[in-house]
């Protein structure tokens, strides 16, 4: 084979064999075995019991290579506020779908702890690559909720500027965004930027080829990417057992040469701790990591889905008892971090966001049909200009007809 075909250009490839492999180096720096570094801890990381009490250290699932300092009360209170806003946004949007104001809304009700932690573990310069279900994460990253809703209202495919917010357009074709995330991290490395990229996907999505390609690229090029998998047990109707025969999804990391960890996805404290450490490691060591959060989608896949066809009500009820909101609230109240004044402030914040969503989604905003031709290319082609003129003429004729009808009606009166 000729050399030009197989010689990659550009990206700095780590030497084929250093004295130590990356895993060996990172683990020896941490003073642990490569196995302790790469393999998930024996059980999922959990800080809070479902009742909201702090578990004793030996029950948190932590250990050598799996140490997760608990964030400060201040950070946790902020996380709680975002959690409450996230829940309110989810439920307001679900109501708006029912009222016919939104085209669709895949709710993350039950998964809000994952959503909030995914955004809060990042610094301003870090990128987020979300899916259709990650609206709350996008909002938590700082995008205006009304801009996020532009796509679900059916006005346009994405309502915010991904570059401004370092938040990619929410992706629907499953796991395609993971490769974009890896590319973005690669670009950051090439440009000498201090950027970590966090890329989200679901349990079902881990079956797609792009998932595996993304993990492999990230590991081979040693890129600072945190792959965050929300394992809610289902891909629409299909349970996890049909997606993977691995011990856990976190174990998948090992085959690519990266570390995997699993976390209680309804425990905001554990999520904050685990994701912050993953982001720190990604940044300081320039390595990818995989974090799997075990959670549950409390509602149907979307408004078009009927989940009674594939899961028992009993199971849904069991998960309701593990709700992330109540757990966090109890913990912070018992700790005295969340007092009445703080609770009132949070609830007011939630109502303000919900009211603005209601007002905006109930207003009849209609996008300009002629804009359909404006963004296909940087400059419309001749064909697009012709088609735009055709539609403009049609719209003008319709408007004139409407005016004539109106005049006739008024004349008749």
């Amino acid at each position: 084979m000729s050399e030009s075909i197989d010689t990659p250009v550009g990206p700095p490839i780590p030497p084929a064999r250093q004295e130590l492999t990356l895993v060996e180096r990172v683990s020896s720096q941490m003073g642990i075995s490569p196995e302790d570094y790469m393999l998930p801890a024996e059980r999922e990381i959990r800080m809070l019991s479902p009742e909201g009490t702090l578990l004793p250290a030996e029950q948190q699932g932590t250990g050598p290579g799996h140490e997760y300092p608990i964030p400060s009360d201040e950070v946790l209170l902020e996380a709680y506020e975002r959690l409450m806003v996230g829940r309110r946004v989810n439920d307001q949007n679900t109501a708006l779908v029912r009222q016919g104001r939104l085209a669709v809304y895949p709710s993350s009700h039950g998964q809000e702890a994952c959503q909030v932690a995914a955004a809060m573990c990042l610094e301003d310069n870090d990128w987020l690559f979300p899916t259709y279900r990650d609206t709350v994460a996008v909002i938590s990253k700082g995008v205006d909720p009304l801009d996020v809703m532009v796509s679900f209202r059916g006005d346009w495919h994405c309502g915010y500027d991904p570059k401004e917010h370092k938040t990619a357009a929410q992706a629907t074709p499953l796991t395609t965004q993971l490769l974009h995330a890896v590319g973005a991290a690669h670009a950051a490395v090439l440009r000498g930027e201090d950027t970590v990229v966090l890329a989200m996907c679901g349990d079902g999505a881990t079956s797609e080829g792009d998932f595996h390609e993304a993990l492999n690229f990230a590991a081979v090029f040693r890129l600072p990417v945190v792959f965050f998998v929300q394992n809610n047990g289902y891909a629409i109707s299909v349970p996890l057992a049909r997606q993977s025969a691995a011990p856990t999804l976190a174990h998948k990391a090992v085959g690519y040469g990266m570390a995997g960890e699993r976390v209680d996805g309804n425990d905001l404290v554990a999520l904050m701790a685990a994701l912050r450490r993953a982001v720190d490691l990604a940044r300081t060591e320039r390595i990818p990591l995989l974090v799997e959060a075990h959670t549950y989608r409390m509602q149907a896949h979307t408004n078009a889905d009927d989940d009674t066809r594939y899961r028992e009500r009993e199971e849904v009820k069991e998960w309701a008892a593990k709700d992330p909101v109540l757990r966090m609230e109890t913990y912070l109240r018992d700790k005295g971090v969340l007092d009445e004044a703080a609770a009132a402030r949070v609830s007011e914040h939630c109502e303000t966001v919900a009211a603005s969503l209601r007002d905006a989604m109930n207003a009849d905003v209609n996008p300009d049909p002629l804009e359909m031709f404006d963004h296909v290319f940087s400059e419309p082609t001749q064909q697009l200009r012709e088609q735009r003129d055709w539609l403009a003429e049609e719209l003008a004729a319709e408007a004139a007809e409407g005016r004539a009808d109106q005049a006739a009606k008024e004349g008749a009166r």
Binding site: H157, A235, V376
Partner: protein, 347 residues
Amino acid sequence: MTTVTETKPAAQSAKPAKLTFAGALNAALAHSLEARQDVVVFGEDVGTLGGVFRVTDGLAARYGTDRCFDTPLAESGIMGTAVGMALNGMRPVVEMQFDAFAYPAFEQVASHLAKMHNRTRGRVELPVAVRIPYGGGVGGVEHHCDSSEGYYAHTPGLKVYVPGTVEDAYLMLREAIDSPDPVVFFEPKKLYWSKADLDLEDLRATYESGERREGSAVVARQGTDVTLVTYGPSLPTALKAAEAAAEDGVSVEVVDLRSIVPLDDDTVCASVEKTGRALVVAEAQGFASVASELVARIQERCFHSLASPVRRVTGFDIPYPAPKLEEHHLPSVDRILDVIDDMQWED
């Protein structure tokens, strides 16, 4: 994500009062599973759930999970394993959940499914039916509304079917499953809940009588002045336009292609030669499309019968727009009438 409002599963009784398009497809799958043991149905959510459009409703329960089953969420995996299954004696019917989610499988389709017969000098047949719910007009968000038939029609070795009526939904899916060649079978989403007064047992008997009309177009409405050539999701729109044109004294003939590959040039040309005018109506964007191919063929074959240039009403050359804008993108009755008006009637 699915965005189309859920509707009741297809009726299972032998004589439904009204048969839906989705119900006809469901019955065609059931009857094929009964008729031959090598048929297997698989894809995402086709088992327990019965498909996001309920087209496979009840099949896993009735025929067993060896014959109708959910796969891991991987379209390339579904298509690639279908190729392997067909190579080794099975007759897979696979579902791509939505038009745009079939793209990860395209390599398997274009590089293997379409070519294997030719590569092996005819030694290997790959009787795979690929069902794809497709097209817009249902308020779906992006990636749920693509008209992707052009990609497949452009790939030699694939048959491409697009039924536009409840009857054809049944008969053509059975033909697709029985075909020795791979067939990409497009199911217009907006027609899923359309209904017809049809008896399933009659349909079954019609099909099983052995009479075949594979690859033939049909004149869906007789007329004398202009021919609308159309298929699938645009058929009802074309028929409505013909109805409206009749009120203005223009007699429109509507040809329903049904099958894009193979293409029934004879039926199309016979109609155009009779009327002297042709207008192709299709939802897909027009540039380098099935509609372009039709215009070229009509021009080549019927030039001397034409009283006016062959015209097209198609989707614009833009990515499928968001739900609030799709009505402006899709071929409408008014747009069809405007173009008919413009087809040189004065001379």
